[in-house]
Symmetry: C2
Subunit: 457 residues, 2 copies
């Protein structure tokens, strides 16, 4: 028979078991933090009806969509009936609109599932990837206070992931919009073009950006360019500094003043929620999705790995589900692109392979004693210890080698000597140490060893 080459489609991240364990640990940590803050789990189908998914016409999004067709419908004219979700926001909007009368508002949900985009093939770009989202959705209105809760979740997530120091950077679209209005730039499209230039600051430097803004396309005055660059380069270094910098902005249009008032309140509540001030800061250049966010916006950056870019972003939006319901549903949310984050952290050496989920290997010294080894394994499992038992036997040295290669930390050995003494030997495969314990003490001893090994990481 001719063989088919076993391979995955391009643009997916498939992991070996120990890497999968590391990735799963990351997802579990994220999920734990989401639940700690009172967010409820939601899962939606991977496919949505095309007319539901693509309510907006055309655009970048639609071109990257994967359509789904059953065999019987192949070759039929027209757009296929279903497509794979490209984010978790559209499914959330559909979910909230569909189940509106069965949900409690403010509705706090988390969702951690894969999404699909027909990205061009490129290293580190994925066509299938996990997103981990939380959102709070209000009915008719949603207090600005929720905008402070999300940074507290971000803080806990990345503190618990132990991937080094980070800053949650905040801005407010009203402040940004008000500032442009003060400069006489009220047109949203023109604002977007200016912001696109400002986005290049890190890459090309402020002189080049200033040149462009003074140039033919924009014709901003020297004073305005200076004001603009000063404004967007505003960063705070402490809580007090953030408050001072906001005060120093003075007053302006209604929108501008609202932006400042919202940022102040959010910053105060972030502090009240126990987030240390080293972990949050103003960054008045942050804009995020221009046609979507309307108030608070967030980015999160690893201080020691700026090249990774924002690892968690989001913000406040005016109305979640206008395409599906007449209800006004304002919300605030954040998203972590977990697959890309995992990949980047691994590339940066911040995440290694996981410890095996298997904690103990019960070895097989004497085939005739197999029932005894099975009973030992059963005892360990009932005590909550993840246990593999060698069923096929072979030389003990080979069994240890297997355990080491598989990343299993402990082995239990029980030969005729140990049986005679009603004991077992516990072998620590990492430290290459071993000791004998009474069989009755085996579970207790292994629990201590496992806890110590976990504490040492």
């Amino acid at each position: 028979m001719a063989l088919t080459a076993a391979r995955t489609p391009p643009g997916v991240l498939e992991l070996l078991p120990l890497d999968q364990i590391a990735f799963q640990d990351m997802l579990d940590t994220i999920r734990r933090s989401f639940e700690r803050f009172g967010f409820l789990p939601v899962e939606t189908p991977v496919m949505e009806l095309t007319d539901v998914l693509l309510t907006k016409e055309g655009g970048e999004t639609e071109r990257q969509v994967y359509f789904v067709q059953s065999t019987g419908n192949l070759g039929k004219e027209g757009t296929p009936e279903m497509a794979l979700r490209f984010d978790l926001t559209v499914p959330l909007a559909r979910y909230v609109a569909e189940h509106e009368h069965q949900l409690n508002f403010p509705f706090r949900r988390y969702q951690m599932q894969r999404v699909y985009r027909g990205e061009r093939q490129q290293r580190g770009r994925f066509r299938e990837f996990y997103q981990c989202d939380i959102d709070v959705i209000g009915k008719d209105a949603l207090s600005i206070r929720y905008d402070a809760e999300l940074p507290a979740v971000i803080y806990q997530v990345f503190r618990d992931l132990k991937i080094g120091p980070f800053t949650i950077q905040l801005n407010n679209r009203k402040l940004l919009r008000g500032f442009f209005e003060n400069l006489g730039q009220s047109d949203a499209q023109r604002q977007a073009l200016i912001l696109r230039e400002i986005d290049k600051l890190d890459k090309v430097g402020s002189d080049k950006v200033a040149d462009t803004l003074r140039g033919g396309d924009f014709c901003l005055s020297d004073t305005d360019v200076t004001k603009l660059l000063d404004f967007v380069q505003t960063r705070s270094s402490s809580h007090a500094d953030a408050m001072e910098k906001l005060a120093a902005l003075g007053t302006g249009s209604v929108t501008f003043n609202e932006g400042i008032a919202e940022l102040r309140e959010v910053l105060e509540l972030i502090r009240a929620l126990g987030v240390p001030e080293a972990y949050y800061a103003l960054n008045l250049s942050i804009a995020r999705g221009l046609d979507y966010y309307t108030g608070t916006v967030y980015e999160t950056h690893l201080l020691e790995h700026p090249q990774i870019g924002s690892i968690c972003s989001g913000g406040r939006y005016e109305n979640l589900a206008g395409h599906y319901t007449k209800s006004h549903l304002p919300g605030v949310g954040i998203s972590i692109g977990a697959t890309r984050l995992y990949w980047q952290l691994r590339e940066a050496g911040l995440i290694g392979t996981g410890t095996s989920t298997v904690q103990v290997l019960v070895t097989q010294m004497d085939e005739a004693e197999l029932p005894r080894y099975l009973a030992i394994a059963n005892e360990l499992r009932q005590a909550g210890i993840n246990t593999e038992v060698v069923l096929e036997g072979g030389k003990l040295a080979r069994q240890f080698k297997y355990a080491e290669k598989a990343g299993i930390a402990f082995a239990v050995v029980c030969g005729s000597d140990e049986i005679a003494r009603d004991a077992v030997v516990i072998k620590d495969l990492r430290r290459r140490e071993q000791f004998e314990v009474a069989r009755a003490e085996m579970v207790k001893a292994l629990r201590v060893e496992i806890e110590q090994a976990q504490a040492m990481g």
Copy 2:
């Protein structure tokens, strides 16, 4: 703007948050048991390359496949490049063949992901559903002993799911094949046709089946029909009874004798693994996928809900990945269709909505004290208690009502009286009781309450 009706595609199971929690609990229990027995996690992409997924030509499977196409490829001639997986077995075969040299054998993996089938629309039939699979894959050979380990996993899974008594039923394809050979029926296709009739026993009764087997299509003798019906109706009522019934079968062809020897060994090891004998039994009518399984086969039935059918099935197969590699990779595996199982258990009233993942609601009695409430919430969260804090305020009675509706068991209340005494009130929303504790004792008191509530289910 014209609204689009918010709706999911037909044939998917989308859950409200408290149901999602119940479902997630079920998946977590299954995953915990899989890990307890030393199985390692694997996830594969939802889409596979079409030529990899559909190595077998035609057949039922292919007609139910969902193909995936990016926008740019719509309308192009020919079969689309990618398709959604319809089970977890083909992806496992591809995974093991692709990563063969980086895996440890016997390779023990679990996989819990969704699969996709273009099923006809019908109540209780799903087009998207979770499968939870474990398999052990050997290189070149795999001891029969592994066939005994899987029932031990099944036992733990369903014991921990607490859905009532169940039996893991065992048979062996070799025994079945040998028995047919003894009857002079060596043709595999003819065996399959006879088995299809036998499958109707429960529905039409043994008289009808006997008539058919004696009739024109089969022409079996009276003696053979009696032998056959006696054989396939063999069930054991205890471990000793199973051994006796196997002994009573006598001897036959090499295949027949192998089947008996394998069943004996598997039964003995299941017992050695600590599975109580009430939970496993012989059922010599079980055949399962006829062109796939070659040895041990399993089904699992709930004693009090026989109409649900098998809730966990599987068996031994000769070679996992013959389409992708020349390596000989025998294996044994089981599969739980978790979405369908959850749906059936819910229909049967065996599963209700879950308890909220939110354990405590910190209420807001006095808006001016918001920072205090945030600090309380922070303290609870840092102590590992899942906490929601009321940010928008309103009447306390309405806040309690929200908590009850949301399935949150406890509320913390802190007004000026409590503040003066440096205390908080803990309210049990289910028992409608409340008591005051010193603020310093809050975490401890809530931990006790939560534990008690959990212990009472």
